[in-house]
């Protein structure tokens, strides 16, 4: 190692010291490596679990619609009602084809029992 005339540490000496230090990196504690790997395993476990949950659940938009309709039971009831309505429309039961059934609606109230037009006409007079 060389020193300059003012007894300073020369650049060469300093570089040699750096090189020696580089060649002998600090020893790694085994416990630290184990701790780091344990952290990694824990984080990775959560990442994988999160990814699985995301792929298994419906999208946020669908979940919102289902919630608004009262959950899955509500959606199932609505779907059943829709199907029933469609079937009735396409193929009405025989009872609705009977004219006597419709006659009930025709005679349920007397035609002249109440007429709003008459009420207004009386008020005007």
């Amino acid at each position: 190692m060389q020193m300059d005339k003012q007894d300073d540490i020369s650049d060469d000496a300093l570089d040699a010291l750096f090189a020696t230090a580089r060649a002998q990196p600090p020893s790694m504690p085994d416990a630290l490596k184990q701790a780091v790997l344990a952290d990694a395993a824990s984080v990775q476990h959560n990442l994988v679990k999160e990814a699985r949950n995301q792929s298994a659940t419906p999208t946020e938009g669908w979940r919102l619609v289902v919630d608004m309709l009262g959950g899955f039971l509500g959606v199932a009831g609505l779907a059943t009602a829709c199907v029933a309505g469609l079937l009735i429309g396409l193929s009405p039961p025989g009872v609705f084809a009977d004219p006597e059934v419709w006659a009930i609606f025709d005679t349920a109230l007397p035609v002249d029992s109440f007429d709003l037009a008459d009420v207004f006409a009386e008020d005007i007079e």
């Binding site: 020193m3 010291l17 990694a40």
Partner: protein, 196 residues
């Protein structure tokens, strides 16, 4: 399934990080072998305390694992990112401590059975002297000197880690090296530069 260890060692840090995020069981081991010694070495040289350096290293690696799913390949080098996190954690720790003591006894002593006891003591004394002199530098100079001369990084790499310009790195390392030479004057005997 995970990539076998030999195969994992051929992959880039970027690729390993993606594999880790996707659940590969070998990726974490390969990344740890590559990055942890660097993180620990820098933290130890900057902090001068082994226990603190271990804590900082574990925290930096934890942040790496958590960041993995959001890593954008090609944006930066993973090692640069780790160095930067270590440096910031060191700065935060020192700020919190506000004048923490220097624990030179905590600096690890390299083991080499091939060396004689006298040589080993001499070398240990040199490392201790170097570490003590490093601890006398202002924090930014110390970081720059450690990264440049002990981690052997290029000035652009150091600039990216410290988030400063290359010229600022050159200035810091030059001033740091001068200050280090001056600081080591009084330790000439420990360094093996005895008169005569």
């Amino acid at each position: 399934m995970g990539a076998p260890m030999k195969e994992a060692n051929r992959l880039t840090d970027d690729a390993l990080l993606v594999l880790f995020a996707n659940g590969d069981p070998d990726a974490a081991g390969a990344l740890t072998d590559r990055l942890m010694p660097r993180a620990f070495g820098v933290a130890l040289r900057v902090l001068g305390n082994r226990a603190e350096a271990e804590d900082i290293t574990q925290e930096a690696m934890m942040r790496l694992w958590r960041m993995a799913p959001n890593w954008q390949s090609g944006q930066a080098q993973v090692s640069t990112w780790v160095y930067r996190v270590v440096m910031n954690l060191c700065i935060d720790l020192k700020r919190r401590q506000r004048g923490g003591f220097l624990d030179l006894d905590a600096v690890p002593e390299p083991e080499d059975d091939a060396k004689s006891a006298v040589d080993q003591l001499q070398e240990n004394a040199r490392f201790d002297a170097l570490q003590a002199a490093l601890m006398q530098l202002p924090p930014r100079q110390r970081q720059a000197v450690v990264l440049r001369h002990l981690e052997d990084l290029s000035n652009p790499e150091i600039a990216a880690i410290m988030e400063i310009g290359v010229e600022a790195v050159e200035s810091l390392t030059a001033r740091g090296k001068r200050a280090l030479a001056k600081g080591l004057q009084s330790r000439r005997a420990e360094l093996g530069y005895a008169d005569g």
